[in-house]
Symmetry: none
Subunit: 245 residues, 2 copies
């Protein structure tokens, strides 16, 4: 993963709280990004930062670069992505991170990309946004739009990471479903069992069976699961058939 | 937005740090979710929580419900989504939040949905994961998989929020799922029955139960279906208990 995001940096413009920087270091490293640049003061409490980064991301803290001006910090980047909050007054059109994550990931393969975030209280002003090639707004509830800075960083990094790693597609290693033979054999056993215990209405034995089939179908029963159920039915049938003995 | 996510709650199982709970309250409210349940102690420093929630999300803190047991906290939910970290040892297949966000959003239109998170240090154990209908893993860099708890909450909430607010979302008719109380009652009956017929290994009775839980969860059992199965178990149990008569 690292290689895919190595050209991406987080640039924090005048952040106020050491704790946030620590949280950002952790979040960035979670998503394979380890370059952080800070514009403004370098006077942050190391302990407060490290408490939030955890010691596992303290290497990211160690390599933070500090700059006095934003122009200097951004000078060596090829592509700058700004971030703004959804404000009461319309500043749209809003571009969501997901809409550009793939582009950013692609661009970063050959270019240095900066993800630029403003101060906790005011965000980026138009003056800083001017420097950006793209500006994204993280979608939020209209009722409470103010994101914690590290949460905003996390969401943007997560979207880019997801775009680079196609992580959403790994989920579907489809397991082996039961064959129709196995399923019908299982339903036959269940039906016999339920008839034996007089659960089924002899007039309409299919009524309950229909319900059972419906959810077994929904589950997409695996071959081995059908085997387990058949094993249980076999055992239960022995009890059911001895009901009058 | 609020209406779309009103049935979704965040359930924190034994969280350790007040600050994280505050950050979670803020993140949840950013994404239109305002119900938080905490299992374990209720003894958290209010000031530490509020410092991170900001006063704008202090209403979410005020309405936190505290529970002593996880069964009690989850009892009235219809659908429970667990979360696990990507660990060194394979516990996969991993399902990414994005792969299920739309489903969760749809299910929540007619059902109470819990997003369950474990303690900061250990995460959820198998015992708690047993209670879940789906388990998701947030994709991270392999080099540093340990997410801050509030960041994990944020990502899952963000994915669901994004899924609910997509213009394409049409409230598909999702039926009413069984409550956790009903499901656990059903599993209890099945377990007793299988123990009675000596199907379960007394040394490790959870082994087969785990398999059964897995496909029942996949199916998303409806309330009436759980009722049918419980009826069948009740009848079968009578036979099983007379095995030696």
């Amino acid at each position: 993963m690292k290689a895919k995001t190595k050209n991406i940096s987080i640039v924090l413009y005048k952040p106020k709280y050491a704790g946030n920087i620590g949280s950002i270091a952790r979040a960035a490293k979670n998503m394979g990004i380890s370059n952080i640049l800070v514009v403004g003061t370098a006077d942050f409490d190391r302990e407060a930062m490290q408490q939030r980064s955890t010691h596992l991301a303290s290497d990211v803290l160690d390599s933070i670069q500090y700059f006095e001006s934003i122009e200097e910090a951004l000078g060596n980047f090829n592509y700058i992505v700004g971030t703004t909050a959804r404000l009461g007054k319309a500043r749209g059109p809003f571009i969501a991170p997901r809409a550009v994550a793939k582009d950013i990931a692609d661009i970063s393969q050959k270019n240095k990309v900066a993800l630029l975030f403003g101060p906790e209280d005011t965000g980026l002003a138009n003056e800083e946004l001017r420097l950006c090639h793209a500006v994204v707004t993280i979608p939020t509830s209209r009722e409470f739009t103010s994101l914690n800075l590290s949460h905003a960083v996390m969401i943007l990094c997560y979207e880019i990471f997801t775009a680079t790693s196609a992580a959403t597609t790994i989920a579907t290693a489809t397991p082996k479903l039961a064959l129709s033979y196995e399923l019908e054999g299982m339903y036959g056993q269940i039906k016999t069992l339920l008839a034996d215990i007089e659960f089924l209405n002899p007039e309409n034995p299919e009524y309950w069976m229909m319900h059972l089939r419906r959810f077994f179908s929904r589950a997409g029963l695996l071959s081995r699961e059908a085997g387990i159920i058949r094993g249980i039915c076999r055992k239960l049938s022995r009890y059911a058939q001895h009901k009058n003995t």
